[in-house]
Subunit: 438 residues, 4 copies
């Protein structure tokens, strides 16, 4: 085996990068990375340098022999990589803002992963990830692709279906966030909690919850019926569930389920913010600005605590845990986006699902779930229909497919509204959607 | 074989009955019914007599030897029946009106089959149909149960799952209406049109459309993109589909799909009517009143043409065609609600589906559909989740299950709104929901 | 529509052809064929001429305006065909003889469809049928391919998987033979009998049996427990079933099931014949010689009755019925080999199965079967494993795949015996197996 | 939690018991058993005492505070158990001898798990295990049932289907034996080897083989094509595989696959032994006699090394590993017999399968396998058909079902031979088959 590992991070100029660096530093003993390439595009050069310099200061301070490289030449950077992580955002925060504002201006939730916003994120992102895969085929065909770019489920499925890179895992911080949330709720250590996850990205359910191997699902659900208690995420306004609803549901919803089981109230809340001029994207833009100001400080050589407010909590931990478990064949359980292959009965065999897996050197091996509970199967299937139609639209650049995806999305009230929003968003994102405009 | 057939019609006092009588008269040569029992409850006695007397005048005028019996003693009437048809409505039109008005008063579509209204129709109807099945087991265990009572899909599934009567078929006039609509659109004879149907009750799609065995699906879809043209049903306000949406959908939606692909506009329209004091139920009430006034006329001895406005067009034709094909082992194709048994891949093996079947003496044999198109599978699955949860609520009388069913319904915006509507509807229908109030 | 239909029969010099001609003559009113091309290879030229001349005399005598063409140029003959029927035999009877004799010389049944003999028939036939498909793509891409060449199931699946011709139906005379057999057993007209068929080619079961739409399965099974009664086929030595076995099986086996449920006795019987110098192939060779002598007679202008002893009874009837039903969109029920698409739960979605179908202008539409009975599912699955492995061997010319197919065949006692038989057969059929010897 | 664990071993007088004791001693630190009940029947009293006394000497010598109880009152012994292990043999070795000798006397392999012998073992064992389950329901409803009694797959499935005890795991030493065999073959430590197992009991395949997380399947298969090398088990005469067959199979067969892929040679070998008066059962009887003589020695207080020749190697290790992992929620991977629930696509959802599972406090959670390789699926399905039919026969005592199971077994050449063997075996085992003789 060669001397050390080469990791390449596409979208290296992201404000999340310091988390990743921190993780690599903490795990360095068992995960001997000796080259870390941070790659970004021309437009992100300034941020890349700010983050890159902080990264260098961090490893130096930690006394860890990771060499950090900054690059705008993606293909060259990818050469001989062992792990490629992707956390880029096509069109940056400005695009996300449009993903939210345009639907809201028509009275519809944008929802940046499984809603109209998510559709456009997929349309912009999938062609880029497939480009990356084609480059990987050439210069690092055996590398693992660890994708955090949202919509992580659709991106992972697009890679499985439309590229020759099959060593791909889609990663989300929702499952780890839910486990952390339960630990906090029960006031116990995170390591003692295990949740059986099944569903799709941002549409995942905790089918059972264990503490030290004993099911505490009923107790957790009881606790969550208290409106004062909840499993929150930084970036979702969380409201209490109706107690009788949650008990009858009998599984743990994820925070994003607020968009589906409380779409009325979520829309109201977001429209309020919208009218006051604020969307989540704008909040994030403000946070990012502050973060980069911090990052610039040549005296900063650790991950600043303010980053945790950013909304991507646990991403670092998830990503590094995953890479570590693959590298060391650790065979621990983590919930990731991978190919279904029958793990969840009723979902397509060759679709991406988010499910508890044993992580091995050979990749994630899903634990068999069997049938989803009747009451949640329908919504999961509907989102999968949306995802697959959206992927087809992203690949083909077909207007009708995009309109179909938009219309069947559960947040969109009609084909007519779908067309209006679609047309406006296509125009707004034109620059990033060559497949629709050639 | 015995001399003639005995048919029992539960809900015989319905305004639809004259259509059924007309059908039995027209088919009498091949379908030798000699006893027709019209059964109703005490509250419906007056209507039963009006309709029953018209029925007697009709068969007499036609010179057909069908003996007509009117009865309030259901179990006695069922004895030795060959076919039992059910077209009763628990709580009558007043209940339907509440099914529509209460949700609308909270800004939500009532939708009497697959919406909140449909949930309550199921909660009221399923216990009664299971009572009927128990009686049939005793007094006519080999009879076929032909159910038209809505929600026909849920009622059929409840019978399959929770009774010993397995010779049950659920019937809806939507498929035949769609074939008639296509025939009219193409200005050809109905007999030349065949549609491959698959889906659920009021959630059925035409996967392909043939004229003389040659697919004309593309042509029909093209025609339907013209807003002036549509396949209408009397009881649904039909709006044109977005042309690019319909083309990308690439299958024929049924009129009820307006509630899902145009829920925004449908809600707006119904709220408008609601504010003007009119709901569909009220329109129907008026029509019914006029019809019964007509029926009373001792000089009337045919089905009055005004009945066609009633909204149940083709029910007579469907029901009689079905009974005829079973009785004669005709092996023709009809779309009915029957047990899936793998015909539609991905839907539960033992759930009711609405699908094109070969009709034999041994009952309906579904044509294998395979996988539903990706884009429509999600919505169908979601309605099936709702249906199964609703059936569980109807059987158990469990408040949480009912709230769960209401919340996961795609027309309901949140668990909170679901609870408000549920509570109000439970109270309003208390009399018909003993399973929730004992 | 053009004036008449063009039918092309590959392997037109077969002794079966007069049956086909008879069928086309009988159905001519509804199936207006005006060109029939009989195609054969150079080696079969003499037979083609004998059969072709008889065919010409037959249509002339019948006064039917079908023009008959004889051709050795397959691709030219195929041009603009509407239906292509294939009944060729690669290597002719001599090859079949080897298919039987070589396994028997090692104490193993040859079984020309699903046994070691069938494996070699597949290895020889699949490359030729795919050549034909490539030609059809060029010169008659919209024609229906009606394949009778055995092993019909594997050939049909190979076409589905490895060619662009998807309008293909595999035809076998076993189902019609079973219906005829039941009719004879009950001494009633064939038209009154309907069997629900499901399984694979030469591995098909009658799941239910109806007379006039009423199940008579139990009665038929009872009759078949009488060793004097059976549903025979000309080419299989039929022995009575153990009564208690047949009753517990609770479905109708086909005659070929003797090879699996009575392999011991069948082997004994065939070894006996083998030692006496006779195999089924040799019997057929003698019959064929006699037939061609008859066919030469210029005074013969009808199908000679002796042909019925040949073993392919009902082929003519099946083939013409099928073409007729497709052409006229007849929507009757016939059991054919077609793509499963979920019709039989548990068998691969995209594999060929033999199943009762509604025959339409758009091809066969299988009736949904659901799960096979537990006790028969295993054997059917095992033959499907064999078939798919054999197809892979036929396509790839891979020795290991062929050995694997031979070993997993239920008639072959071990990997070692499989290798011995395989090697000897490869050598014997070398001329027809270029994929293994290049 | 209470002070210590109570384990009850049914069939405690077995010669295997000292292995189990050794395991409990070794793991005592993490698996704090304080009561071990060895239970047997009246007929086994003597053996129980011999083994029980040895067990007492073993724990005493080891200085471990496990209290050992001997009992003939099964239900009393079961009271408040935490784990119940079953290793009884209905009819003891004499019955096994008949299971082998009767089929062989008719030229058929007996094969004590999946062959005719296995059928009778199931017929004798299933009623007893269901009795045990009924007792457990009453006196220790929350205990785990760890069944080693063969046929372990059928016994486990019978418990799932026909009892209320669902905390049941079926255990076999084949998977651990295969991992040990691979470790030996590669001359490495067992802990470094992991095999992905899937299939049925004694019909399990190694789909992939890893050393330190890296696949070495091709290398292992290559090694196994050397006739000098093999993965042996004490109780199966192992012969080399045909190299090209094994490579094309492309997965690791288990030793029992010799009975299916080499049935010819296995039969020859066993017939030879049979003629020489020896069967496996007789060899075992001799070994047992010797073992019990050893066990009697009051100076013996460890597991005697001679026990390893007995054929049940690794049983102790497997059983104790499993109980330990359940008790400590260890989440390691072990291959056990558990309910499929979709883990292996194509096998029934509610059937027992043998598959790699994560072992948790909540029981085994299978890793999703997806589809079995085409070439092996058929045989696995066939054995599952046999198993399910055999279970139905065991429950119902129906002669026809038993004949059906015997006939569809791949080792049995015909329905006629099946009947002969069945009748003789029913008579021979009459005493243990009350369900067939009442």
């Amino acid at each position: 085996m060669k001397k050390g590992l080469k990791v390449v991070t596409i979208g290296g100029g992201s404000s999340y990068t310091p988390e990743l660096i921190e993780g690599f530093i903490n795990f360095h003993k068992e995960l001997p990375i000796n080259e870390l390439w941070l790659v970004d595009i021309e437009d992100g050069k300034e941020k890349l340098e700010i983050v890159g310099n902080l990264a260098k200061r961090m490893v130096e301070k930690a006394g860890i022999p990771i060499e950090i490289y900054l690059s705008l030449d993606r293909k060259e950077a990818l050469r001989s990589a062992d792990f490629v992580t992707t956390q880029f955002r096509v069109g940056q925060l400005a695009a996300r803002e449009l993903d939210e504002r345009i639907p809201l201006s028509h009275g519809v939730l944008g929802q940046e992963t499984n809603g109209p916003g998510g559709l456009f994120k997929a349309l912009r992102t999938i062609p880029v990830i497939l480009d990356i895969c084609r480059e990987m085929e050439e210069v690092c065909p055996n590398a693992w692709l660890i994708n955090f770019t949202n919509p992580a489920g659709m991106v992972t499925e697009a890679v499985f279906r439309y590229s020759n890179i099959q060593k791909v895992v889609g990663l989300c911080n929702v499952p780890i966030g839910m486990e952390m949330g339960v630990a906090k709720l029960l006031d116990i250590d995170h390591d003692r909690v295990r949740i059986d996850f099944a569903g799709l990205n941002h549409m995942v359910f905790g089918l059972n919850v264990y503490v030290d191997g004993v099911s505490v699902k009923d107790q957790v659900i009881d606790l969550l019926t208290d409106p004062e208690k909840s499993i929150t995420m930084q970036n979702i306004h969380v409201m209490g569930w109706e107690p009788e609803f949650l008990k009858a549901l009998d599984v743990l919803p994820c925070p994003y389920h607020h968009y589906y089981y409380k779409s009325g109230e979520m829309l109201e809340k977001e429209l309020e913010n919208f009218k006051e001029g604020g969307t989540r994207a704008e909040v994030v833009r403000k946070l990012e600005k502050d973060l980069f100001n911090l990052y610039k400080d040549p005296n900063l050589s650790i991950k600043p605590p303010q980053l945790e407010k950013r909304g991507g909590a646990y991403y670092s931990e998830s990503a590094v845990r995953l890479i570590h478990s693959i590298y060391t064949d650790r065979r621990d359980i983590q919930a990731v986006n991978t190919m279904n292959k029958g793990a969840i009965t009723g979902l397509p065999y060759d679709s991406a699902v988010e499910v508890s897996c044993m992580i091995t050197k050979d990749g994630p091996k899903p634990l068999a779930v069997g049938e989803l509970p009747i009451a949640v199967n329908g919504l999961v299937q509907q989102i999968k229909s949306f995802e697959r139609t959206a992927i087809e639209a992203a690949i083909s650049g077909n207007y009708g497919k995009a309109l179909l995806a938009m219309t069947i999305n559960p947040l969109v009230p009609s084909d007519r509204v779908a067309r209006v929003i679609l047309n406006e968003m296509l125009e707004a994102h034109k620059r990033y959607l060559p497949q629709f405009f050639s």
